[in-house]
């Protein structure tokens, strides 16, 4: 499924406005802010929905829920926190395989799902509008600030392959790789007391489930200067850096138009096929697929994840500046 959708759901008392553009969006926050009310409203027979796609709440019966996920296509499916599917081992495969967008209402960190830091929302500002209807917009929790990439005392890179190789070429032993999101906190913990400032570089397109605990940890240390860089992915940074501008023929911010295996294949006709390992369940994978596709026939620029091409190493400064 591809696309960006603005959805308005309302009844006589309340109106919700949501914009969805990725497979997974998370809605969390305090109790009694209207999350379950949104699910109940979507489930009710009488409501007004202004949307180009069908919006449903996933049924609570597990077998019916799984059938729904397999049979429906191009829907926005709301999954409330008390849906037993979220407690079921292996639920991430069922969702990844389902050709729909999902609004997941839960405070749980769903570490097995590729959720973007930009797609975490809370229901916070409840205001009554001039027709006495409660306006309940989803507010993004991400606050971005511009920070230049300086010479940090320690730089922790989530990537263990091409991204790490490039940073290592620039910063040497100051760089360490966590070899995945799951080990970042451990490395940050090891840096406390040893270094006054650190940088953490992750793929924002999949880091939402880890961000809250990392921020919760780092914020405890008042003397620690830290920056967490959450661009979409390393490949997105390369594409944004300008060094491949002659090959790029899309708006990079519009990944929602192509982030689907069959749409990508039909649009770009790449010489590779998607498998479980590189299926486009996140924008991170889209940018990797796209950079592979546009450089496939240019040997000195050909991008591979395992080993970074000399062309990119020669442009290290431009690429790293793009993080700022």
């Amino acid at each position: 499924m591809v696309g960006k959708y603005k959805i308005v759901i309302e009844n006589k008392k309340i109106r919700y406005t949501i914009e969805i553009k990725r497979k997974y969006t998370i809605l969390k926050g305090d109790s009694a802010t209207g999350k379950t009310t949104l699910c109940n409203l979507v489930s009710s027979r009488f409501k007004i929905i202004n949307s180009n796609i069908e919006v449903i709440t996933l049924p609570y019966n597990l077998n019916i829920a799984i059938n729904t996920l397999q049979s429906r296509k191009n829907n926005l499916i709301l999954i409330d926190e008390d849906n037993p599917l979220l407690e079921t081992r292996g639920f991430e495969k069922i969702l990844n395989d389902s050709d729909n967008y999902f609004l997941l209402i839960t405070r749980k960190s769903l570490k097995s799902l590729p959720i973007s830091v930009k797609e975490e929302y809370i229901l916070k500002e409840r205001k009554y509008n001039n027709i006495e209807k409660l306006e309940n917009n989803l507010i993004s929790t991400v606050q971005e600030s511009e920070t230049h990439f300086k010479d940090f005392q320690k730089i922790i890179i989530e990537d263990s392959k091409s991204g790490y190789q490039l940073f290592k070429a620039k910063f040497g032993d100051k760089c360490i790789t966590s070899k995945g999101n799951g080990n970042i906190l451990k490395l940050v913990k090891q840096c406390i007391g040893k270094y006054g400032n650190i940088a953490v570089v992750v793929d924002g397109a999949v880091f939402q489930p880890y961000l809250e605990e990392l921020l919760g940890y780092c914020n405890q240390f008042k003397n620690l200067e830290y920056v967490i860089y959450v661009p979409e992915s390393f490949e997105y940074i390369i594409l944004k850096s300008g060094i491949l501008n002659d090959l790029i023929d899309i708006n990079l911010e519009e990944a929602y138009k192509y982030c689907d295996d069959s749409v990508f294949t039909n649009t770009f006709k790449p010489n590779f096929k998607f498998t479980n390992e590189n299926s486009l369940v996140s924008w991170e994978r889209f940018y990797t697929a796209y950079i592979r596709f546009i450089t496939a026939n240019i040997p000195d620029k050909r991008y591979t994840k395992d080993s970074i091409n000399t062309f990119y190493l020669q442009n290290t400064d431009k690429i790293i500046q793009t993080y700022s």
Binding site: K13, I14, G29, D30, S31, A32, T33, G34, K35, T36, T37, N40, Y60, D80, E81, D82, L86, E87, R89, T106, R107, K108, S109, R126, L134, L185, K186, K189, E212, E213, G216, Y217, Q220
Partner: protein, 161 residues
């Protein structure tokens, strides 16, 4: 006292729930909303006044049955009720705004929750202590909770059993 189990196995997860909604609606005595604690939770979290056990009036939703109370309120009332032994809850079942009332409840009775995620249960909540059931330690400050939780989290790997 509040007891907390850090982490759980996949086998344990079969009986640990991320929400009390379904349990509350079907198993918890509906008179719980008429208790002083019930009224206080509903007033504080949902901004509602309990008219009787069938009607609660909130500014946001008007008159509602108790089945439409928030998930956090239902979790607190489930833990408060005598039937709380019937369900094991992950702390994700309630928002941060429930923690002051969770602290209050923990001084009235022993309650147990489970967590895999960092939640600051001490700062600004009035919580006096939490017992970590994995080790038996009793922690009385945010700093102790922070240290123990993150020492545990960095090595946490969910096991089958």
């Amino acid at each position: 006292m509040l007891e907390m189990q850090l982490g759980y196995t996949w086998k344990e997860q079969e009986n640990i729930h991320f929400s009390s909604n379904d349990y509350y609606n079907n198993m918890v005595d509906e008179n719980v909303v008429l208790t002083d604690f019930g009224r206080k939770v509903i007033k504080t979290i949902d901004g509602g006044d309990v008219i009787d056990k069938n009607v609660i009036v909130t500014k946001a939703l008007g008159g509602i049955p108790q089945e439409h109370l928030s998930g956090g309120t239902k979790s607190l009332l489930t833990l408060y009720s005598d039937q709380s032994d019937g369900i094991k809850l992950d702390i994700c079942c309630m928002g941060d705004n429930c923690f002051p009332l969770l602290a209050e409840l923990s001084e009235m009775k022993d309650i147990k929750l489970y967590t895999e995620d960092w939640r600051d249960i001490f700062t600004g909540t009035g919580l006096k202590a939490v017992k970590i059931t994995n080790t038996g330690e009793v922690l009385t400050t945010q700093q102790e909770w922070f240290d123990v939780f993150f020492d545990w989290l960095v090595d946490y790997e969910k096991k089958d059993e």
